[in-house]
Symmetry: C2
Subunit: 412 residues, 2 copies
């Protein structure tokens, strides 16, 4: 876990006491959201704040309806037992949406990262237009909300989209697999849902990386390269615990790293991009299968490899070499302490591990390889929804008072 | 210029009033260091602090000997004229050191980024051992210091080294062109200089990038890719105004991005790294010259190209294509809003521009290329020394009170 002080090194804004209170509220809510219930004493020792500050701040979070305090039994030590603060998960909900090519997933995620309910609908290729997608999401959100028994409020709506997302206005610049270009998706979805909570849209690989650093194998790791493969290849880059978004939010398009000057055409318009060598289509084609066979065909190919079918083994060997070629470059550029493999790369890992590590070792700088771990994602197919939930919670975590005020329209 | 609040989004430390005061001191000193002299009124409007806070904080900086206030003539508006604060450059000095293969540069840089005096000594290839390098630096620092007329104190010592630098302990992990490996360079240099000021060592491309964002063409730009070429190729990556260092400080080794599966051996042990295609050696060899001709041979090659010599023109064309190939990948991965070209790439730019931009356009994602500017460095050969000066000032800028206390050993 990084130890950082409460200030950005290059701050150019003066700090006032109002800002301090807001920052401390944010910090306490993050503690409870990410690390679970904690007693006042634990919060004092974790945050460095005084006991009276912690008490007052928890009181504010309780008043905002975000946290509840439970009386704790004495732990045997002298003095009054310290009450335990816990987030009100069921009452504070994020709507998490995952817009993939073949399906749409929607979840209600409670504060604290609890998935309350999930719904996934498969959809045909002719349902991927923006209007059809929005209609499908609205319907699915309705199904999910109908299942929530308790009184609740929606704090935010987070959406993962398989495409390039401009973070400043939640628009999709281009989503080749959906055929979208310059779509103000966040605005349009927000209008269709008709809810006061803010809509936040991001690239799917970025969202999956967010899930990994908050709820997955990369919790507490500062410098992470998340690599996700399917038809396309995407990445989420984490530096010092923060997402590298780039100027517009397009950073992490590692699938379009040129790796083969003699390579085949890529759907992006270039040639020899990394995803033309390591994406699902390339793997399937090398094994003599249709490029469009999808995950079922990959599973069949892996079965073949287990059975010793030479063509399947050779295709996986080539996959390993190209995977290592590109990963080594990214390791040299970014010097992560952890690489997390998701999707296709998680699936093929047991088949490519030896050759992959050899190739990385051969091509990555020894110093950058020395303290690197390469791991597979531990999050299941709901990783994107978990991450989209975190995206949705970002505003309330950054400024609990401001976000709840904006939501309720009241001057709390 | 980014507008950021005074708090890191993922802060996990409580904020106390002592921390606030320290952060505000830091912020005001940064304003004066980076943006020059300012009246109290200007500082109030730039920082959002109250007039009385600004007055008290400037008072502290004056007491620390870092700032002096000058009475200002009335600007014609009613009310008392606002005194102007200015950093005490000549009295507060950084020692900046640049350890290159062929030379060592040392400068005294005053607070505010004023280069007070510079000395560069050429050195033969047999002077690059660690001991010889340290002896040369100590002697050159002595020469530089002897020239400073005024009473001054050294606030920090910043060193740029052509190699991989582990930021946590200022050690050089590997510097192939110097033949160094695992050298505790910061500690050894600090001991040899025998000065209380902290020594801070970093990779030369990172230091050059620091100079660009603070004093060069990238001032106020949040997402920058600095690309520097010579014998080797290095990069400095800036995301949201902060350096991407990676887990150990080795990020930015863009010269070792594999780009050519059929390429030639690289000194790093791999094959087909970007620097084997775009470094000085490759360019010279393609033009029929010795790989080791150095900058003079490059200048001769450029003269040839101006004269229409076919081999020189062809070599530059190939340089352009490979430069674009690698840059496009980095643009896709990092989505910078500005690419700054330094060293060899600055020199060849007028000869490669058209072909380079075509290649980038062909291979970079249209969305990431759309708002990108590609510029040449405007800093001369002292860029590394300017950057090393910024490196040296980082501690006092981050915590003026703490740094001066540590330096003087007194409880101010």
């Amino acid at each position: 876990m990084s130890s950082r002080t409460g200030f950005a090194a290059t701050s150019s804004t003066g700090v006032r006491s109002e800002t301090v209170r807001s920052a401390n509220l944010s910090m306490l809510l993050r503690e409870l959201h990410f690390r679970g219930a904690a007693s006042r004493s634990e919060l004092v020792s974790r945050t460095g704040l005084t006991r009276s500050s912690v008490g007052a701040l928890i009181g504010e979070l309780v008043k905002l309806g975000l946290v509840v305090e439970m009386p704790a039994a004495s732990d045997g030590s002298r003095g009054r037992p310290s009450p335990v603060a816990i987030v009100r998960s069921a009452e504070n909900v994020a709507i998490a949406v995952d817009v993939s090519v073949d399906s749409i997933g929607v979840a209600a995620v409670g504060l604290g990262g609890v998935v309350l309910t999930v719904e996934r609908i498969e959809r045909a290729r002719d349902r991927v237009s923006v209007d059809a997608t929005i209609a499908d999401i609205v319907a699915t959100v309705g199904m999910v909300r109908a299942r929530l028994a308790q009184q609740y409020r929606i704090l935010g709506i987070g959406v993962a989209v398989v495409g390039l997302v401009q973070r400043s206005d939640n628009s999709v610049a281009i989503a080749p697999n959906l055929g979208w270009r310059d779509v103000r998706f966040g605005d349009r979805l927000g209008a269709a849902l008709g809810h006061a909570a803010p809509v936040c849209v991001a690239n799917d690989a970025d969202v999956a990386a967010l899930a990994e650093i908050h709820r997955g194998v990369a919790v507490g790791v500062d410098d992470v390269l998340y690599v996700w493969g399917e038809v396309g290849v995407g990445g989420g880059l984490i530096s010092k615990g923060e997402m590298i978004t780039g100027a517009s939010g397009f950073a992490g398009e590692i699938g379009h790293l040129p790796v083969n000057p003699l390579g085949r055409a890529c759907q992006c318009g270039s040639r020899g991009c990394w995803e033309t060598e390591v994406g699902e289509g390339a793997l399937l084609q090398r094994a003599g299968r249709s490029r469009d066979g999808g995950r079922e065909a990959v599973d069949a190919l892996l079965d073949d490899a287990l059975g010793g079918v030479a063509l399947a083994v050779a295709a996986l060997n080539e996959e390993a070499t190209w995977l290592g070629f590109g990963l080594a470059g990214l390791i040299n550029v970014l010097n992560p302490s952890m690489v997390v493999l998701g999707g296709l790369f998680d699936a093929v890992y047991p088949f490519v591990e030896g050759r992959l590590l050899d190739e990385i070792k051969r091509r990555a700088l020894a110093s950058s390889f020395a303290n690197l771990v390469i791991v597979r994602t531990a999050l299941g197919e709901d990783a994107l929804l978990l991450g989209a939930g975190e995206l949705a919670f970002e505003q309330v975590l950054a400024d609990p008072l401001g976000a709840i005020r904006a939501l309720t329209g009241s001057a709390l």
